[in-house]
Point group: C2
Chain length 493, copies 2
């Protein structure tokens, strides 16, 4: 018996960086799991094991104790350790250590799981850097006053109280919610109080939760057509039946929406600056949309993603500023106002959704990181947010001009860029019919990133053209990019 | 006509803190929306308006321009501004400024929205502070080396490159994922690589996404009974059919699970330390569970919430360390290891779920804040995480002893506390039948927070007793709390 056991306990070589104790533990564990050591078999005395393995007896005892705690061994007083007798026969082989188990094909996704991953509107890998011309939807992070932010963060971290390390409120850090409400009152004309505001990680998270709260699978949602795929896909993944509603020069065609899906439960609208076409939703459309929402008891989600950056005058009042019926969930993010990797966004909610939203957020995520919320609060309270937005309005306005100027000099009328009144990017319409996908491809070969407007199509073809970002690009980069884009356009006739 | 218009344009008083321009804008807007100014009506000349309002003509022009941009006015060359003619009749009244619209009862929640908010396992408001004895599941944030953390954060923010402000990877910051993989290899015996790791905000977010990826509504999930309501409710809200599987002294009764729901698509298990009863899942059960999961093609979610804190020897190997069939999604969080408000957690995924998980995370949330991820990476790379956990093991072990000691001195056997081998809290079983809810209530009246074990019940009654947290409490607070708990127990006979 003794000899058989000793054969079974042949110890493999110790890999680099593995402690003696862990090596011994792993070898014995592997021997048991592979049935080289059978249930009930007695282990050699710890003294003998120590001698054979060339380790101290303390190390052996620690390894055996670990194995006993994990159920591989049982200790019998006076007789040392034995292999546990009750391991099931179907014990799987342990995976080879420090390599992941082979990717199985077994993890079956659910049908709705497939809907979650069917299309990815955002790059899953970190996007390339530095930013190429003309990637849309990008603020200029290089113009962000990082020093001021660091100062707020450092001050905050000096002041950090221990209770800010403990769990926070699901709805968000109170002072930040108050600061957001004040900003929305002042800058967007929204009658808004702290109690209505929830802090979320992103617009995507807000849309996801609103859909799951307000929609049952199959419920219809009005989606601007063309419109933002990030919204379309997250709503569809939540089971919404997406109804593309055409957009004309006044924005969402509410009359068409009433015809296509009068009983929709939700409408998604970029009222401040239609994504991707750029016009604000006209006043009569706004009022018509709200009247419909009241009658249909639908929720209107206003995604105000970049209309803070209006280049002349003040930003236009938000759709929610007309929301006497309390049907609008207004969603905004600090990604464009400050920088994307901050990952803080906010919702001004209809009264009836405040409590449900906080509960749903708590269940599916809990709350946003307190340190970042507190730093952001300081940054706003010190006036830096307002100043930064005002500076960026001037900077981006110059760049919008530079874009239109470069286009008119370089493109010979091939792309028509309407006046740019606000935002970080613009549509550029093809003067004559050309293959948009080919333009995107040819531009990419020249290091220029443009987005085909068909990316935004829902139920009908989008206007022929591309989307060009300008806000993050210095005028020289705009001009250089435009020269390359001109070459690409040349090639696609 | 002129006179009528002038009557309609009666201007209300200017509220404090509102600029002249905004006041004028608001008054005219309100007059139009309320039909005091009718469609087509001509406004007085800007010069007259300026005189009447007592403001400069520039202010009037800025206000009128804003109103024109928002569609309230149309400008006719040579004739000044007129009210837009095409406002719909059903224009809602604007909400009174700087008060939120009255909470409507109109926001109908969807059926599955109600499931999201039916029960709230976490406090939606920030929990009271300082921490009362014996709130469960709390690390000692006062023992967190905040100075070291601040140093990592400051160093990181000095080094921050601009590209770290731009969008990051959905799966998480690469260096942090590598550090997490190394930690899991070393501390939990998991054969794990960076590519399998995703960084999430919380265990809740991981559970939510795993459910939505792997379960269609109505699919069965094994849930430990008693078991963690945070998991039960988020899985149920995602449409899972929860099957409570009994727990005995060896943890989840896998044989019972196979009988109750052989074709479940998922099993949720706290293998390291059963929540709330405290025992690890026995080895034979582990192997049986994995064998079932392979045969049923089910996913096992291992929630390893606090078994890092094992008081003697090393932490037990994770269930996932046996996962040769690649069926286990291992979920852990830094909330207990570091501090809750950090809001970073991680999943070690089966190979087949890596890509779907990253895509689903990207669609429903995007990615976690880069600065916090980078600071955490530095903190781990500098060895602070490992050291902090080792320090806390010693500290929490002392407090576990203090708890058992105080209980045996103070409670006269009314509560039976089993040996505490790890974790932040312990079950305490009632020696004789008493009303758990009454104990909780009486204790609360004395400022002591205990949790009835029935909080964890799924399909069958939980053992009679309460859960006591000890890790965040100094021995004196433990003793004082126990004295009060003894009084509460006295009153509930």
């Amino acid at each position: 018996m003794r000899r058989a056991r000793e054969v079974e306990l042949a110890l493999g070589p110790r890999p680099d960086g593995v402690s003696l104790q862990h090596w011994l533990y792993s070898e014995i564990r592997a021997a048991i799991l592979s049935r080289r050591l059978q249930g009930g078999a007695r282990l050699p005395a710890s003294r003998d094991l120590a001698r054979r393995a060339g380790v101290s007896r303390g190390t052996v005892l620690a390894a055996l104790e670990q194995l006993a705690a994990e159920g591989y061994l049982v200790a019998v007083v006076g007789r040392g350790a034995s292999v546990a007798a009750d391991l099931p026969d179907q014990a799987p082989e342990p995976p080879p250590s420090s390599r992941p188990a082979a990717a199985s094909t077994g993890a079956r996704l659910a049908a709705r799981g497939l809907a979650l991953i069917e299309e990815t509107p955002f790059p899953v890998a970190a996007p390339s850097w530095p930013l190429p011309a003309f990637r849309p939807n990008q603020p200029d992070v290089a113009a962000f006053p990082l020093d001021l932010w660091r100062r707020s963060a450092a001050r905050r971290s000096r002041l950090t109280r221990v209770d800010l390390l403990a769990d926070g409120e699901a709805q968000g850090y109170g002072p930040l919610r108050e600061a957001v409400a004040a900003h929305l009152r002042q800058s967007r004309g929204i009658a808004c109080e702290k109690g209505q505001v929830a802090i979320v990680a992103s617009v995507q998270q807000a849309l996801d939760l609103l859909a799951r709260l307000c929609l049952d699978p199959g419920d219809a949602v009005w989606m601007e057509d063309p419109g933002f795929p990030g919204a379309r896909l997250v709503l569809a993944a939540a089971g919404a039946r997406i109804v593309g509603v055409p957009v004309d020069s006044c924005g969402l065609d509410v009359t068409a929406g009433r015809r296509l899906a009068p009983n929709a439960r939700m409408a998604y609208v970029t009222a401040g600056r239609q994504a991707p076409l750029g016009m604000p939703l006209a006043l009569d459309r706004r009022l018509e949309l709200l009247a419909w929402a009241e009658a249909a008891e639908a929720i209107v989600v206003e995604d105000d993603y970049d209309s803070e950056f209006r280049f002349r005058g003040l930003p236009l009042a938000a759709l929610k500023s007309h929301d006497s019926g309390d049907r609008v969930a207004y969603v905004g993010a600090f990604s464009k106002m400050l920088f994307p990797a901050l990952r803080l966004a906010f919702v001004a909610l209809p009264g009836a959704l405040v409590d449900p939203f906080a509960k749903a957020l708590s269940l599916t995520c809990r709350y946003q990181p307190t340190a970042a919320q507190a730093t952001l609060f300081d940054f706003i309270a010190e006036g830096h947010l307002g100043r930064h937005i005002r500076r960026m309005r001037l900077l981006y306005a110059e760049r919008a001009e530079a874009l239109r100027d470069a286009a008119s000099r370089r493109l010979g009328g091939a792309l028509v860029i309407p006046p740019i009144l606000m935002g970080l990017d613009t549509p550029a319409f093809l003067a004559e019919r050309r293959d948009g996908a080919a333009i995107v491809r040819r531009a990419a070969e020249r290091g220029v990133e443009v987005r085909d407007l068909s990316y935004y199509a829902v139920d009908r073809p989008a206007p022929a053209g591309v989307q060009l970002g300008f806000a993050a690009l210095a005028p020289a980069a705009i001009d250089e990019g435009m020269a390359r884009l001109a070459q690409a356009l040349e090639e696609v006739r």
